[in-house]
Subunit: 422 residues, 2 copies
């Protein structure tokens, strides 16, 4: 199997100033084309450390993907070091990247280019340039002769800026496919919500045990997305592979029913949005404990304004009463964290916002503030629909505020989704 | 200088399923006590890979901090492998951890303990246990004889769950201080907002150039927190160190004035909340383009209900009119992204929520939807105060939705903060 090591270069990661998000993205892409990532390494930007790290990686890997250390200043030495390592004899100015640099810096009023910025278009003659469309540092590809490590190897050097790396990755994957004969691999991701991972595993155990050996199942749990099941099939033709994935997907749908909310890269809020758009219907929210987070999940999607009208963050009881119309009696008798309050909030938001649906949350996110009857982690969620209001209590076993807010919001979305497929 | 390598073990990271956030946290702690992190490595959970990685790390490092691979199932082999590497001759059951395991699993109704869960309390006799108060897998400390790598070395094995690692880190740092003679180091972080990093660097260039050699300055930029300046001083007594940090802090305050909003681990919303609480005043928000994100920043802080009353996410124009009282004339004449609309939103939110202050945002987050006059990245922010309404336009040069939403919200918070110190 073709193997890869991912290297990040730069002190910002080593001193803990930034979290390395590039490696996970690169790894996901490599896995999806059938390349196995055997190691990830972060190293400082000294020549010795960079060379040792890459030489070490090339012993075990066919592919080394490097990010970082490509800035214009003199402490960024990745390009120079890679030139040295691969026996470059000269530097050449890449016209395509020079045009991109000029375009980007013109927009910032930084023309004529400084010597340092122009130098970013200059690359060792041992590399092939993959233009960076959205940044000034070009991506570079260095092929290493087969006799050097006993196997063919290619080094890719990408910028450290996550957005620039992301844009470059499809081109890098195409290049890898050109260099190596990769085993064919096809994927399908089934998104589920509402069944805990261990319960889900039990429910599908028998099916999983009988999967053919070239079909692999991975569980991808995520607080906002639920448990996603990724099916990967190796070593078949495209036609056979897709047919087998479709067949297994159908079996999973039979076993898991309504717990499945979509496939591929989607989310609960996207699923809800799609359905509402199709039906020409609208939604709003009333949030106490989730404090705006539920609304922000809806509005994180471009085009949400077609169905998401807005929300009321009713943190203080006065807002619950004045804008949502929650009655003083309900607050006095049952408290803000109650079925009665959640239902009045949902109904009130539907009316105040003028929407077809409204979701309401009221609970105790913690870490403090719970009581024996309503401990931290308790939440009442209500959904107002054109036919009435439904509500449900959830109790989560955590005192961590951000974790509770995420769980409250995700379960509110799931309750809404289930109403739409009833 | 005492050096460290951080290792993460497990396929979830290598296949890109999860982003490794532990390493950055561990590194930040190690740096704060004067330990230099020379490398970070992620490896798969096979015995060979784990041993090779640790042996490699011990050649260059005094300390190896490992996370992951401590679960109860048989594919988690870190503990067994470390026992083998350090010459353990037996396993012993740690009573303190056993009690914690029993307490945690009782709460989940999982007593009597299964064989697998009880086995988590059992550790190689070559280690010292650092109890894990919030999880079932104990933290372990293995001291390696000095003659083995030519220098004293200690291996720490921590659970992979980020929350459990975080809780364990102070105890690990104390243990490191006991094992090694560390250079004394003191830090102070000054938080600034509103001056871009490069401009800030120019403003304080002369001061920075004249810093004594034992005083180090680091720039920590963050979209929501602004640019934080971390001053670190080495090799002095505590008294002298703190005095010198205080003196330099005073100089920075003279140079940067109102751009400084706090020190240490704080945020714009925390600074605002503290001031409002002191004054017994309240705040609310009206959000269009930030869609609930601004409210969620306020409500992410425990105790926000003392000053944060709530918010209106007025995504649709009908909500701007019906709840916030924005006039149809303003929307028809100037559009939703306008000074007039932002000011009416802020004034309307202040009134509807019954607060002393209100912040409003209306802009174009993108990626689509801009016009030549109002391109993506344009936002109008208004702040309603007891004395009237102020507003300001910002234009950011990005078409990425999440980046724009963060910038809009952070600048809205900063405008509010500046009003409070006027």
């Amino acid at each position: 199997m073709i193997t890869a090591t991912i290297c990040t270069i730069g002190d910002e990661i080593l001193i803990g100033q930034i979290v390395d998000t590039n490696s996970a993205k690169i790894s996901t892409c490599l896995n999806s084309i059938g390349v196995k990532v055997v190691s990830m390494v972060s190293t400082s930007d000294t020549e010795t450390d960079i060379i040792n790290t890459i030489e070490g990686a090339l012993k075990t890997s066919n592919i080394v993907v490097i990010t970082g250390g490509l800035g214009p200043t003199k402490d960024d030495i990745t390009k120079k070091t890679l030139g040295k390592l691969t026996g470059a004899t000269a530097y050449v100015e890449n016209q395509e990247q020079l045009e991109i640099i000029t375009r980007i810096l013109s927009a910032r009023g930084m023309v004529p280019l400084s010597v340092l910025n122009r130098a970013q278009a200059s690359v060792p003659n041992s590399c092939k340039v993959i233009p960076n469309e959205v940044g000034t540092a070009p991506c570079m590809e260095f092929e290493i002769p087969e006799n050097r490590y006993g196997h063919k190897a290619v080094i890719y050097s990408l910028p450290g800026v996550p957005f620039e790396t992301e844009i470059a990755l499809p081109k890098v994957m195409d290049s890898i496919k050109g260099h190596f004969q990769l085993q064919k691999i096809f994927h399908k991701t089934i998104c589920t919500f509402g069944i805990p991972e261990s319960t889900l595993a039990q429910q599908i155990e028998q099916w999983e045990d009988n999967l053919p050996s070239n079909l692999h199942l991975a569980y991808l749990p995520n607080p906002l997305l639920g448990v996603r099941l990724r099916l990967s099939i190796y070593g078949t033709s495209e036609e056979e592979g897709l047919a087998e994935l479709a067949e297994n997907e159908a079996t999973l749908k039979q076993m898991l029913g309504d717990a499945i909310y979509g496939e591929g890269e989607t989310s609960l809020q996207e699923t809800i949005g799609k359905t509402l758009k199709e039906r020409g219907m609208t939604i709003g929210v009333a949030e106490s404990c989730t404090g705006g987070f539920l609304a922000s999940l809806f509005t994180s999607l471009a085009g949400a304004s077609e169905y998401f009208y807005g929300g009321i963050v009713s943190y203080d009881n006065s807002v619950k009463m004045n804008i949502l119309g929650v009655s003083k009696e309900v607050l006095d008798t049952y408290g803000a964290v109650s079925q009665e309050c959640a239902e009045q909030m949902a109904a009130g938001a539907k009316k105040a916002l003028g929407t077809d649906y409204a979701i309401a949350t009221t609970g105790i996110a913690g870490p403090g503030g719970g009581t024996p009857e309503k401990p931290v982690g308790t939440v009442w969620i209500a959904v107002a629909t054109p036919d009435g209001v439904i509500s449900k209590k959830f109790a989560f076993n955590s005192t961590r505020r951000n974790i509770n807010i995420e769980r409250f919001a995700a379960n509110a979305l799931n309750m809404m989704r289930l109403q739409l497929i009833k």
